[in-house]
């Protein structure tokens, strides 16, 4: 048999090194995916500006927001019975109805919302009241050095020190982007602390308890940092 001219149909089978583009595709995808844990977010934030238009065309896809909850059902809001209790170390205990809360002097702000799991929603328009309005009416005792924020979603709660509660743009928010808070965003009231990760911003807020010192909130009990500074806590930054 003349080995120099093999029959054409055998050429592919006898090829000692068939081009393994399939293996290349598999490994490239794997490599790209794994390394994206290092470069994904910065690249995406550069891209997402140009993708913003497309994103809003798909109504079902969350626009940056993810909804986290810890109980089996999200609390429901009934304006007739809902109260915001302010108690603990205060001279004047309060139980504000939704109507009374809305009657307090309003504030607006546009701030970014950062979640500790890595996502961010930019330029959220919040409307609500400042804690100073509450303090003016409840008049905390000097021994009160921290605030416990209690959610209607049991057993979620969290704390701020009195000092942290006076940070810029800390707000008790009842409107988001021009509309009353929706159920999944904590209707009717949530805490907003732009300088800290979102888990500090208690949703479905219905009680502010003035206490001598801060303790561990829901996620802090599970290992998160009590002082949830954006970019400087929970393993991020320095």
């Amino acid at each position: 048999m003349n080995r120099s001219t093999p029959p054409a149909e055998y050429e592919l089978m006898d090829d000692p090194s068939p081009k393994r583009y399939g293996r290349g595709l598999f490994l490239t995808t794997l490599f790209g995916g794994l390394t994206s844990i290092a470069w994904g977010r910065p690249v995406w934030s550069r891209l997402s500006g140009s993708l913003a238009g497309i994103e809003s065309l798909v109504p079902l896809v969350p626009h940056g927001w993810r909804i986290y909850s810890v109980a089996d059902t999200m609390p429901t809001f009934d304006p007739a019975t809902w109260r915001l209790a302010i108690d603990g170390l205060v001279q004047q205990k309060l139980a504000l109805s939704y109507h009374e809360l809305r009657a307090l002097p309003q504030s607006h702000q546009i701030t970014d919302f950062h979640c500790v799991t890595g996502w961010t929603v930019k330029n959220v328009h919040w409307k609500g009241v400042r804690l100073s309005e509450i303090f003016d009416r409840a008049r905390p005792f000097p021994e009160a050095h921290a605030l416990q924020f209690v959610s209607a979603e049991q057993p979620y709660l969290d704390y701020l020190t009195l000092q942290q509660s006076q940070l810029k743009d800390v707000m008790l928010a009842y409107e988001m982007d021009g509309k009353p808070l929706t159920r999944e965003h904590g209707a009717p009231l949530r805490l907003v602390i732009p300088e800290m990760y979102g888990y500090k911003g208690v949703k479905w807020l219905n009680r502010i308890n003035l206490v001598p010192q801060a303790g561990d909130g829901y996620w802090e009990y599970l290992g998160y940092d009590r002082d949830a500074w954006v970019g400087r806590s929970n393993g991020y930054g320095a």
């Binding site: 994206s36 089996d72 799991t117 890595g118």
Partner: protein, 196 residues
């Protein structure tokens, strides 16, 4: 009068997928759909509100993911390992053989996605408790994988269930055999073994 039956008898079938391959496919499909459903409930705000019970859904998703990968590993270990290896070698070369190039790309990407889903999912899971496993891009990777895998799934379902010319292939994945004439037309480079 009897001729349609005569014709039916002459339809010959060839073996397309082994029992191991089919089991692997359906275990993978079931696991993927469970994770897709539970994942979408966790991910889409409207579904989250509708369903509630987030702690339960989260458990289903996390343990479902472990179960998915575990079940695939068990099928491979207990099944025809040599056959699976042969199929894997076949997929490495992007030229038509028993599969066309599109099928090969689909299978290779899904295999890579499964591993990436697993890694990013475990990082998200452990990252919730331990900052050493927490990276800002993990959740992004997990999301994009979902969109990519969903896109592949839609194409795959269309070709396997809807498109008239190709939907006969579903029989290969359910009963293991396909019509010989169909196989010859769609896979001219494949020399199929006859069905039993």
């Amino acid at each position: 009068m009897g001729w349609p039956l005569e014709r039916l008898r002459r339809v010959r079938f060839v073996r397309r997928f082994s029992r191991t391959e089919r089991t692997l496919h359906w275990v993978n499909a079931a696991g993927f759909l469970l994770l897709l459903a539970s994942g979408l409930i966790l991910y889409l705000p409207r579904l989250s509100v509708l369903v509630g019970r987030r702690p339960l859904i989260k458990d289903v998703h996390l343990w479902g993911g472990i179960g998915w990968i575990g079940a695939l590993a068990i099928v491979v270990l207990l099944g025809d390992r040599r056959g699976i290896l042969r199929t894997a070698r076949e997929l490495e070369v992007l030229e038509p053989s028993r599969f066309n190039v599109g099928q090969k790309v689909n299978a290779l990407l899904n295999a890579a996605f499964a591993l990436l889903f697993l890694v990013s999912g475990l990082l998200l899971w452990f990252g919730e408790r331990d900052t050493r496993f927490r990276f800002t891009s993990t959740v992004l990777l997990h999301d994009i994988l979902m969109y990519a895998a969903l896109t592949l799934l839609v194409g795959h379902l269309y070709l396997a269930v809807i498109h008239p010319a190709t939907r006969h292939s579903l029989r290969g994945m359910t009963r293991g055999t396909v019509r010989e004439d169909w196989a010859k037309r769609h896979y001219p480079r494949w020399a199929p073994p006859p069905a039993d």
